[in-house]
Point group: C2
DNA sequence: TTATACAACATTAACGTTAATGTTGAGATA
DNA sequence: TATCTCAACATTAACGTTAATGTTGTATAA
């Protein structure tokens, strides 16, 4: 034992074995220039003494923390928490730990998270930014630290990012409803993620046009207040709308909850299609058809992207658009 | 600029201002022995140069990382992700960042998480352990690092922990169903968290006894396989059971989903009461009555407990049991 | 036999920060 | 005037690890 809060250090092992600190370090990292015998002996002693490497010291010296930061909206939103879980799994495969920060979709909280992450010398940052002109993003860009945008895309972006084909997703959602016999459709967004929302609606409308539905049969609304949402839904239903495309699964479920508590039947009065296919990971909510953006693949790709950038910062930036598919349920 | 991955260091600021590294350090930390004038000047220069403190170096020297580890089951389970969010908020208030690890309820993954956390020199660890005899716990106990058990309790435990009054929660759930006119009740657990589960059922039965229900009117089952769960539910319903107490909200919802997809009505064929009152944080699922264990308070208390222990390791250990209440919905 | 090569270690310095202690000069005190 | 005090800084060393470079003794090649 020594000073390090009673924790065993290389120093202690060195004293115990008679070798130098450096030799102990190399032995524990299975490096060359150490005889098989001493290597095993040192490792044994380290185990016996309960040695745990001090990552701070190691990172400070080596310049690598083997840590990534994930800055997401909120862990209260299953979309983010599922993504977080997947990111952790994929990162873990490569030996990375993940520090999770929540921006609560607030720009200053997000900025603090970035500062914090930078301060902790993370090797890379994964972020679903509040917006594309958030101060957090400019700080990231000028920091020189590798970062990848998750589930966010804006035309003309030069930042590394992984997102899914929103337009195609909207198209598939539209076609699914049309194939189900629905001729009067609407898309609903609660909390607007601008680009995705627009793209999804664009695809949605494309499907409608393709099917020959008149423009006035296709509605769109972006509402946050539950009361106004319910009012809008009632209006739509009264107008004969029977198919609803929700911006995402989470919003779909809260819409369904709203409708059911108001006495409507889903499906029945309204058929709802979601987006993200969170049901592939979250088992408990009501099954709904959804656009699968393959979050697992997104996580995998993002980790791979940041890994490569950490390894070679001079690589050309990449905007990776992942394919989507429809998962039909019920 | 210097070597630190192109990042500005105290050294750089020292050169720029003509002061020594130590003076710069003290100025940036607003310590004494620095004239107001130089303090402001140094801080200004630091800001201009885009200085970000290197937490690794700082922590290595000071022995404090201002970081907590949270080791939870999985971010795919809203109970844990909501708890994580709350923990982060409370920790943030005190200037702590949180490293999140998922054990996936596996003992070896959990052990790895603990090792990882210790290796990163976190100031304290919050954990919802797989079990009370998991190797992770013994490692924690012998590590000397402050830790607090979250939402877990076992009779006779000496570890610091924060949990809720499971027995009382079960009692309230039982009484709620009985007050609703139900005379034939059951409790269902999917994934068994042994102590909590037993306690909740004990309280549940107490309510039943108190109301004079005969023993055979009160059932219990612990099943994981959805098919067997559904079969059991059908059997119960056929036997006249009308009130169901679910181990937790998440399980309640998946039970409801099972029932509804099998053509049953909830409530109607079966009234379901959950536990945790996750609906207070998660807005999208179907509203159900639930036992509120006040997760926010649990998070607050846990952070306060670990803060005090970090500050004074000699404090007596504490097992904090939080009160519960019923939240009736629909 | 002597130079060479190499395995197996040791030595040194550094990562960026901070705690502990030292120094200095100006003003206050006797 | 000599001593003391203290504000405002500087110097030194250390946190635990690792990269770069030195050193040694033995085995091999010429």
């Amino acid at each position: 034992m020594s000073k390090n809060n009673g924790r065993v250090t290389l120093q202690d092992i060195a004293r115990a074995t008679g070798f130098t600190v450096n030799t102990v370090s190399r032995a524990l990292k299975n490096k060359e220039d150490i005889s098989r015998e001493t290597c095993l002996k040192i490792q044994q002693v380290a185990r016996d003494m309960g040695y745990v490497r001090n990552f701070l010291a190691s990172s400070l010296r080596s310049g690598r923390t083997k840590t990534l930061a994930l800055i997401a909206g909120s862990m209260m939103n299953p979309f983010y928490s599922v993504l977080t879980d997947l990111i952790q799994q994929e990162a873990g495969r490569l030996g990375y730990s993940v520090m999770v920060f929540c921006s609560r979709e607030e720009q200053d909280t997000e900025l603090q998270a970035v500062e914090n992450a930078l301060s902790r010398q993370v090797d890379g940052i994964l972020i679903t930014p509040c917006s594309f002109d958030s101060p957090a993003l400019s700080m990231l860009r000028s920091s020189g630290v590798p970062f990848v945008l998750l589930s966010r895309y804006q035309e003309g972006t030069r930042d590394d990012c992984v997102y899914c084909n929103d337009e195609e997703g909207g198209y598939l959602a539209g076609r699914h409803l049309i194939d189900g016999g629905h001729r009067h459709l609407a898309m609903l967004t609660h909390h607007q993620v601008v680009f995705s929302s627009r793209e999804r609606f664009t695809g949605f409308r494309r499907a409608c046009r393709e099917a020959g539905l008149p423009e006035e049969n296709v509605r769109f609304a972006c509402l946050e207040d539950p009361d106004r949402i319910l009012a809008q839904l009632k209006e739509w239903i009264a107008e004969g709308i029977t198919g609803l495309f929700s911006f995402c699964d989470v919003e779909a479920w809260s819409t369904i909850t709203l409708l059911e508590s108001a006495g409507f039947r889903v499906p029945g009065d309204l058929t709802v299609v979601g987006f993200d296919n969170i049901l592939g990971y979250l088992k408990f909510p009501k099954p709904i058809s959804s656009i699968d953006c393959c979050l697992q693949e997104e996580a995998r790709a993002a980790i791979e992207m940041i890994r490569r950038r950490i390894h070679d910062p001079s690589l050309p930036q990449q905007q990776l658009c992942l394919p989507v598919s429809l998962v039909s349920r019920v």
